[in-house]
Symmetry: C2
Subunit: 421 residues, 2 copies
């Protein structure tokens, strides 16, 4: 039967050609290949804390009535379950936003699909996106796939720096490409990879620059609030979106993965009405809407308050694990290592004096010989950086690894740091 | 706080500009606005048959063990749960394929995401896609959004016609655009909207043309088998994919929505390895993979045989409902109306002698006055048709409407047909 002639390669689209293997895949493949590896790289959540009991209760409740159960096994509507969007709007209002319109929310498959979709709605190949540097590397994959020119803005311990942002705007004007700017992407809580939490003043300063620059042409601010629910200490800072009470400007994106359960694959975004319709149309083309069943369960969990119980458990767990990691870093690493203490989220950012941490570097290889993995800062850097390229950064994640192996991984890394310092 | 200057419109991407409101949305909005409407238009599945009992049992089983439950609430991997891909591979082998490699399967958010993703992997604006005419209108939305030139191939009661397909190839060569052809899209079971089921010979003839034409340049055949599990009578025809035993050519796409439950939002595709990696990378950008929890439940349902029980119930129900619709058409419509009896799927295709059925036509409006909706054939037509454009077709769906209102809807339509004949 198989007399087919030997096949030529498929004629890929330009988008497919741009969509190369994520560097992180190479890293993750190492873990899969060797079960002894202690991974500080994986961005998974704490398995032990996943709320299987609360999910079970909510599932039983929504399935108790057969007719209701059948309704949620049917197709839903593209922007998402009305009940879930209403519950989410109420929650955003409890978190300080005003007049949140459920009809301006789109439920997505994790926060990732929100970012993917709005990017496709805004960005043509060659268009410009400004991001923190270092930034969330998976979003950089999306941007490269879309053919965007990704320009980094310098960060300090509070995230994106206003001065550096203004400098970038001046450069875009000088280069005559200001009209190609489509998106300013800002993580507003416990950023990935640096764990920064912008202060109230920093949030305001970034929004002011965004708004002032609108005079030179419309573009979109994305506020990625993925880690907001994982505040481990300090006050709950307001959303940047709070500066946009008439919902005209900011695309606010969040997720149910980090403080509840990634296995539901649900996230959300709240945006200006005009953008909502464009995003919903693209989402319709992608999948007609996220799982109706999962949305019904999460709506029930939000309504009953169980969602907040799950989030609270995660915070308690991560606070303890973060402290184990910080203590281990203090105990096992030389004091010359810079460690940024995160007030929330899942990541500790470190920089080493005079040691290159790139994949394939001596440091990386010696750590790997000791069966430990981290995310090299290199993976999080933009194509266009401000100032010299960072070569000595690392993201250490306390999300999924248990406290004892985590302490051991930090200890082993410390041996390499000490030997090379 | 709201001293924002009045906003200019957002600078959309070209893709967003191409992604216009689907015509079907207009139709669906009519139903939402008026609960008295009897809709033969909605493509939803039969709510009464949705397997809430089987889902409940499977959910209880996978959640019985807390540790297992927590695993499935964690992130999964992008191509999908290994267990689900293995169960699906076994099922495809029971359905006649050989050596199905689970590593060449990608689990998606419904069949829709498979089509969306492979289209983005293959198609640049201006590229050509050949489809049945009339065809699945939602896929046409995806193609238009991708900027594809959608060229229709004439259909008869068995679906795409081999002669017409060869004619199209000759035209592409004559026009000098054969190299822009990227996809040949074929529905192989109970097509949407016509309900055609290609015979064994027709399947072979289409594959032979596909294969012969490869000599002129590589392109991809998509076999959309969404309705395979809804065979109501007659033999189970083989997949076209059976002609591609070394898995080098055909992208086979299917869904768990039609014979199980749309609320899980899961589908699948099986494809050449080279394509698999490109599709998985795009899927990674979109959402990192479909809901791990839902995949675990469906894998359990496939393993236990409950999935086949659910599919069998749907078939029994649809057989009865199809027969109610056919009987009503016979009873209430003049014999001049052409009715294509479907051997499976969800749709009855009809054509009226000398009556225009387009949206906004006199017929459409008079039917709507009687509170009945159908899908005008117009919505399913390609931009480029072979021969005169069809103006008198209609898709009537027996999926979600119950037998009595369905009979009543057909009766009311019959009054309009009779009055206008």
């Amino acid at each position: 039967m198989s007399q087919l002639t030997s096949r030529q390669p498929f004629p890929w689209s330009r988008s497919a050609v741009r969509t190369t293997e994520s560097p992180i895949s190479w890293l993750m493949a190492k873990t899969v290949g060797d079960p002894e590896i202690l991974s500080l790289a994986a961005g998974f959540v704490d398995t032990d804390t996943l709320p299987q009991d609360l999910v079970k209760t909510a599932f039983e409740k929504v399935f108790a009535d057969a007719s209701n159960a059948r309704e949620i096994l049917q197709y839903g509507i593209t922007p998402g379950s009305r009940r879930l969007r209403q519950e989410l709007a109420k929650r955003l209002e409890r978190q300080g936003l005003t007049n949140v319109d459920p009809d301006c929310i789109v439920i997505s498959n994790g926060g990732q699909q929100s970012l993917y979709t709005v990017t496709n709605v805004m960005v043509d190949p060659g268009d410009i996106v400004l991001v923190e540097d270092p930034t969330y590397f998976v979003y950089m994959d999306v941007l490269r796939s879309a053919g965007a020119r990704v320009i980094g803005v310098k960060t300090d311990s509070e995230g994106m720096m206003p001065d550096a942002l203004e400098e970038r705007f001046a450069e875009l004007r000088a280069e005559g490409v200001r009209d190609r700017l489509k998106i300013l992407y800002v993580m507003s809580y416990f950023t990935n990879p640096k764990g920064c939490n912008p202060s109230t003043e920093r949030r305001k300063a970034l929004f002011d620059i965004y708004q002032r620059e609108l005079a030179d042409g419309q573009y979109l601010m994305i506020e990625d609030a993925s880690y907001r629910d994982l505040c481990l200490e300090g006050p709950d800072e307001p959303f940047i979106k709070a500066h946009d009470p008439s919902n005209e400007h900011i695309f606010l994106s969040g997720t149910f993965s980090k403080a509840f359960a990634p296995g539901f694959r649900l996230g959300w975004s709240y945006m200006p009405r005009e953008l909502h319709d464009a995003v919903a149309r693209q989402k319709g083309n992608q999948d007609f809407g996220s799982s109706n069943m999962n949305q019904a369960i999460v709506a029930e969990l939000l309504a009953s308050g169980a969602f907040e119980i799950a989030a609270g458990r995660f915070r308690d767990r991560y606070r303890a694990k973060r402290d184990v990691m910080l203590a281990a870093l203090k105990e096992f690493w030389p004091s010359s290592a810079h460690v940024l203490k995160p007030m929330g989220g899942l990541y500790v950012w470190t920089e080493l004096e005079g040691i290159n941490t790139d994949p394939g570097s001596e440091f990386f290889n010696r750590v790997l010989e000791k069966k430990v993995l981290y995310v090299p800062g290199r993976y999080c850097l933009c194509d266009e950086t401000q100032g010299p390229r960072l070569t000595n950064g690392m993201r250490l994640c306390y999300g999924v690894i248990r406290p004892e192996p985590m302490r051991e991984a930090v200890r082993r890394m410390g041996e390499v740091v000490a030997a090379m310092s």
